[in-house]
């Protein structure tokens, strides 16, 4: 066997072909786009879910409970497979029922959809906890001013719960970035799958998996840095605890 240093062929990571660096970066971009899309979609679902769970009628509440319970009890990988194959199919059937023509769901939209549904359940729980942490007096005061329920929600409850929600939501963002890796299993060319393709094509498994690990880690560390800044801003005006 040759000496260990010569085993690592760094030129494989070059950005221009024949290096695979460019392909990896494109995969990373795909992962980030899906993470952002899925996270945002999840947040929208989460706000709806949390409001439904807290203020909805008994049936809405129970349906929301079913949604979050199922997502929290079933592995993400299984949910992703189910949503990827059945979810998009079901969506088309529903559209067909209401007289719309079938939409052709691209891989990207399907990826955002499945990550969003999973994230939606998680953020429902995070936001529900945060809304409950808003002092009841503030909401009562807003009602006393004659604000409509929607106005109370958008002007008082949602802004006031943000500081309580941010730690949980930041964690969910980090989870969203890592969950995109699971889309490799359905053949979506995000970072983990292109890494495996590059590794398979060049047989340099260790090198490529480490490189992808470094990219994911960099994404996490950058996110952490931004989150710290946001947290500091959001907690202005709060008495330092501990």
């Amino acid at each position: 066997m040759a000496d260990p240093a010569s085993l690592i062929n760094w030129s494989l990571l070059a950005l221009e072909p024949p290096g695979w660096g460019g392909v990896l970066l494109k995969g990373l971009m795909n992962s980030i786009v899906i993470a952002i899309g899925g996270y945002t979609f999840g947040l929208v679902l989460g706000i709806g879910g949390a409001v439904g769970k807290l203020y909805g009628g008994p049936i809405t509440r129970d349906l929301m409970e079913c949604y979050t319970t199922i997502v929290r009890a079933v592995p993400e990988l299984v949910l992703i497979l189910l949503l990827y194959y059945a979810g998009t199919d079901l969506l088309n059937h529903l559209l067909g029922l209401f007289g719309f023509s079938e939409v052709d769901i691209s891989g990207l939209a399907a990826g955002i959809f499945v990550i969003g549904i999973v994230q939606g359940a998680y953020s429902t729980e995070v936001l529900r906890g945060a809304i409950k942490a808003v002092p009841a007096g503030q909401i009562e005061a807003a009602r006393a001013y004659g604000m409509s329920p929607t106005k109370v929600m958008t002007r008082i409850t949602l802004p006031a719960m943000l500081p309580y929600a941010i730690p949980g939501l930041s964690n969910l963002w980090l989870i969203a970035t890592k969950d995109t890796a699971l889309l490799a299993v359905v053949g979506f060319s995000e970072l983990t799958l292109v890494t495996r393709q590059a590794a398979g094509a060049t047989k340099a498994y260790l090198l490529f998996f480490c490189a992808a690990g470094a990219l994911y880690l960099a994404l996490t560390l950058v996110s952490d840095f931004v989150i710290k800044i946001i947290e500091r801003r959001a907690r202005r005006g709060f008495v330092e605890q501990s």
Binding site: M1, E76, A181
Partner: protein, 284 residues
């Protein structure tokens, strides 16, 4: 936090709770008998009946033994890695609280790297990356370990253990740091040695504080186990994949798989509720 008595256990981490079902989420028996719930349950029953009646389930008997075996593999993966991971997590958490700085930095770096990368990637790195390196060393090939290194499950166990240890290490760090200093001082005042103090006071109190999050992390670990199917371990997920590939039926096996995982999670959570009720809340 002055004047407020400290709760005996810290509530579970918000994110863990958002991602995993915990004992407090379990419904009580009488909560099912509200009028609107009875209606909802009836609708659900009709839905389940339709699924059972109109979809194809004729493949189940043929695969039943394999499914049972797969569930056992999944549970073996879960418990072995949760126990091994916890054993690793205790020192990881402890050195981050009291260790000398090189150890502290090392433990912190380890936790950051593992928590900052997807488990699927770690798994593939171990199995395809490291695993393809081993046979190049004749010494490894001839060692007694080789028959195990040829199998895929040791890599699955290793990756899941490392991941659990990193997440749990963070939890234990918080739990060790959160044990009131007064209790440790009292232990010292009784003349306990450092080891006795750790064994009798610090560790049990930290575990007790971390229990709710530990439960949640174990549920999350169950949700992580199907990843090992991607490195040819035949767990229940892999059995269902085989059904899908053999029969070209897509939805039914996946629905059954979701149901199996929901049952496993439910049983796990009920076991935790039983345990939590058995553990006396000291000092309350």
């Amino acid at each position: 936090m002055t004047g407020v008595p400290l709760p005996d256990t810290t509530p579970p981490d918000v994110t863990t709770h958002a991602m995993a079902i915990l004992p407090e989420d379990l419904p009580t028996a009488d909560s099912f008998f509200r009028p609107h719930r009875i209606v909802l349950i009836l609708i659900a029953a009709v839905l389940v009946f339709c699924i059972a009646w109109f979809m194809r389930w004729d493949w189940i008997p043929q695969y039943l033994p394999k499914l049972g075996h797969g569930i056992i593999v999944t549970l073996a993966m879960l418990f072995s890695t949760a126990i091994l991971g916890f054993v690793l997590a205790v020192p990881l958490g402890l050195v981050q609280v009291t260790g000398p700085w090189p150890l502290k930095a090392l433990a912190k770096t380890f936790c950051t790297i593992i928590r900052g990368t997807p488990l699927l990637l770690q798994l593939w790195l171990l199995y395809y990356g490291l695993g393809s390196l081993f046979p190049q060393f004749p010494a490894i090939r001839q060692s007694f370990l080789w028959p195990y290194l040829r199998e895929s499950w040791p890599y699955g166990v290793a990756a899941l253990t490392i991941s659990f240890a990193a997440y749990e290490g963070e939890v234990m760090r918080g739990a060790f740091a959160g044990v009131p200093a007064g209790e440790l001082e009292a232990a010292r005042a009784y003349g306990m040695s450092r080891w006795t103090m750790f064994r009798r006071i610090w560790l049990p109190r930290a575990i007790h504080r971390a229990l709710p999050t530990l439960n949640g992390e174990t549920v999350l670990q169950l949700k992580a186990t199907p990843l090992v199917a991607t490195i040819t371990v035949i767990d229940v997920y892999a059995v269902i994949s085989k059904v899908r590939q053999d029969t070209y039926i897509t939805y039914e096996p996946l629905l059954l798989l979701a149901l199996i995982y929901m049952c496993l999670t439910g049983i796990l959570v009920m076991a935790f509720r039983y345990l939590e009720n058995r553990i006396p809340t000291r000092g309350a």
